[in-house]
């Protein structure tokens, strides 16, 4: 994995509340190569977003990265100064957020918001920044970009807003784009447009993409590799085709079963019973064990390691399928 763009290794991010500690990310490891799109999938609360924020060291207080390494181009981000991190953010590593309307400062025009990054990182003048912002809007497929520059976020449609977010993220030609659930709020056609756009841009710009979603459909459509997370831990990871076609972890299996299958409307959906565990009070052993049909006694007592197999896949289960 030496050619990895980003390598997250045994990341632990905890939130220290008054009387409890919430272990949101609990020993997560994965890697992204240049030009690769990696999806992180899992239910809400699995720790996906916190993992992403940890990469940029933007975990909100009272959260703290407890342990682990985040190697970006071989350098550990956790040892960098605040200033170095600021230079990295938005320039080398940029991020797109879940809720575009709330992630765009409502008090500034789109042009201002895009330009701000350019002025900050690239040292452009206001006029240059505006010109470049227009080009970026065109790049992300917004029609009539010159006019849109003077719009405020609330004046744009949800899809447009997300395109603007992507334009901001792309403005400094980042090596890594982290996208946190960017399409949840959008309707399906727009989602597909955005996914196509990201793929296109990856092909054109060659950046790595980390795509967080709770939607395996998106993973299937977009990603090269996928990481399945549950209760702050990686359950399974590997190339998308393999993981979705032949899941080895029961949790992955259940996730796939919960999806409606095209062309087989008669089949009942299989929701996962129970709820994810309280991250402040994780069970011993496999965290999925309480909901797992295949769980045996040792699942609830033994620490389960993530086991890599030769085909680039890894699974955290005592009794993996195959």
């Amino acid at each position: 994995m030496s050619d990895a763009l980003l390598e997250v290794d045994d990341l632990h991010t905890h939130f220290h509340l008054k009387n409890k500690t919430v272990r949101a990310v609990n020993g997560v490891s994965f890697a992204i190569k240049r030009g690769e799109i990696v999806g992180i999938a899992g239910e809400s609360g699995a720790g996906k977003s916190v993992a992403c924020l940890s990469i940029l060291r933007l975990v909100p207080s009272p959260g703290r990265i407890e342990r682990g390494r985040i190697l970006f181009s071989g350098e550990d981000l956790l040892t960098k100064s605040d200033r170095q991190m600021r230079e990295l953010r938005g320039q080398t590593v940029s991020m797109v957020f879940e809720d575009p309307l709330n992630s765009l400062d409502p008090a500034y025009t789109v042009g201002n918001l895009i330009g701000e990054t350019l002025i900050l990182h690239k040292g452009l003048s206001k006029r240059e920044a505006r010109k470049k912002a227009g080009e970026l809007l065109r790049l992300v497929g917004i029609p009539d970009p010159e006019r849109r520059l003077d719009n405020y976020a609330h004046e744009l449609s949800g899809g447009m807003q997300q395109r603007v977010m992507i334009a901001i993220a792309l403005s400094c030609d980042p090596a890594l784009l982290i996208a946190d659930n960017p399409t949840t709020a959008l309707d399906v056609t727009i989602q597909i447009q955005i996914l196509d756009l990201v793929k296109q841009l990856r092909d054109r710009l060659g950046m790595g993409v980390l795509w967080i979603t709770h939607d395996l459909g998106v993973v299937a459509k977009l990603c090269d590799r996928v990481v399945i997370m549950y209760a702050g831990e990686v359950m399974e990871q590997g190339p998308v085709y393999g993981v979705l076609k032949h899941p080895r972890h029961p949790y992955t299996r259940r996730l796939i079963d919960a999806l409606p299958k095209l062309g087989r409307p008669e089949q009942r959906l299989m929701p996962i019973e129970g709820r994810p565990p309280d991250p402040a009070n994780l069970p011993a052993g496999c965290p999925f064990a309480p909901r797992c049909h295949k769980a045996r006694a040792e699942c609830g007592t033994t620490e389960v390691p993530l086991v890599e197999s030769g085909d680039g896949r890894a699974v955290r289960c005592l009794f993996p399928e195959d």
């Binding site: 230079e87 953010r89 938005g90 809720d99 709330n102 992630s103 765009l104 400062d105 409502p106 008090a107």
Partner: protein
């Protein structure tokens, strides 16, 4: 924006008309006859009638109202019953004195309110935040008249740092700005106290709100420094509610100045209203309440316009 402005200005016209009716009717509810109040122990039925007639008190209400309003529009508020001079001549100088006091208080409110609020809001749970928020909670619930008395005794009487009463030193041959400021310190602090505390608390929560917004995280992800985030983005977003509350506080200050003016003998509109109420001097009370409310409405209008200019989301309305 222009449409918004026109719309907003148009809405205050019926409000002002309503205000004038309320003010007029309110004064008609006063028990006791102003004519008797004027004449005092020397009153006889005949003399009372005479005075009533000269005041137009014998006409029906609506006639009195229309005549009164028509004159008010022309700037004529009638004649003071107690001191027998044109009310306008009495009220305007007092009003400006209150404007001065309000302006001084507003400066204190904004400086203290914004300063404390921003520092607290960006450093939640720091010792500064804890102490200042406890203090503001206390001050926000402290009666201004009581605080005024205490400031007067401690700072004016014991320490002698500031004068206790009035606007200018009576013995000085000339009115100077420095003298005015010196006299204004205690009344302005007293008037501003509650509002400054309220503003500080609001600025803090407004900042906390903004700082927890997703777009702040997004801005951090863009690589902006905390200073830029707070000053450029935090400020601009937190400002509309702050301006709103500051606008409202202007009204509070103008009303609350009444207590201060009574305590510190500040010759403002509040003291005038108070003494005119006690003297049952209707035309003066009418005019003073009307003028103050009118200005309050205008200030609110101004606040709305400024907020709309700052916050693009409101402008469409």
């Amino acid at each position: 924006m222009l449409k918004f402005l026109v719309y907003r200005v148009a809405t205050i016209v019926p409000v002002l008309l309503g205000v004038s009716i309320v003010v007029f009717l309110m004064m008609k509810l006063i028990p006791g006859d102003p004519a008797e109040a004027i004449l005092g122990p020397a009153a006889t039925t005949e003399k009372i009638e005479m005075v009533r007639k000269s005041l137009g008190l014998d006409r029906p209400f609506y006639v009195q109202y229309v005549r009164w309003l028509w004159k008010v529009v022309q700037g004529d508020f009638g004649t003071s019953i107690a001191v027998n001079v044109p009310v306008a001549q009495l009220v305007w100088p007092k009003f400006w004195n209150t404007v001065l006091l309000t302006a001084g208080s507003l400066v204190i409110c904004i400086v203290i309110g914004l300063g404390v609020g921003i520092v607290s809001g960006t450093r939640q749970y720091s010792w500064f935040d804890r102490i200042s928020m406890s203090l503001t909670l206390i001050v926000a619930n402290t009666p201004a008249f009581w605080l005024g008395l205490i400031l007067m005794v401690v700072l004016a009487l014991y320490l002698g740092w500031f004068p206790a009463t009035g606007m200018y030193s009576m013995r000085a041959s000339q009115k100077t700005f420095g003298d005015l400021i010196h006299h204004m310190v205690l009344p302005a602090i007293t008037t501003a106290s509650v509002s400054a505390a309220i503003i500080a608390r609001l600025v803090r929560s407004s900042f906390l709100d903004v700082i927890r917004k997703h777009y702040i995280t997004a801005l951090r992800a863009k690589g902006l420094s905390e200073r830029d985030i707070i000053l450029r983005h935090g400020m601009k977003n937190a400002l509309p509610p702050i301006i709103n509350i500051v606008g409202l506080q202007v009204g509070y200050l103008m009303g609350g100045a009444l207590f201060t003016e009574v305590v510190f003998s500040w010759p403002g509109i509040g003291l005038q209203i108070y003494s005119s109420i006690v003297a049952r001097d209707l035309p003066v009370v009418q005019a003073a309440v009307l003028v103050t409310t009118f200005v309050f409405v205008l200030v609110n209008l101004g606040t709305d316009v400024v907020v709309a200019a700052l916050d693009p989301r409101i402008r469409r309305a």
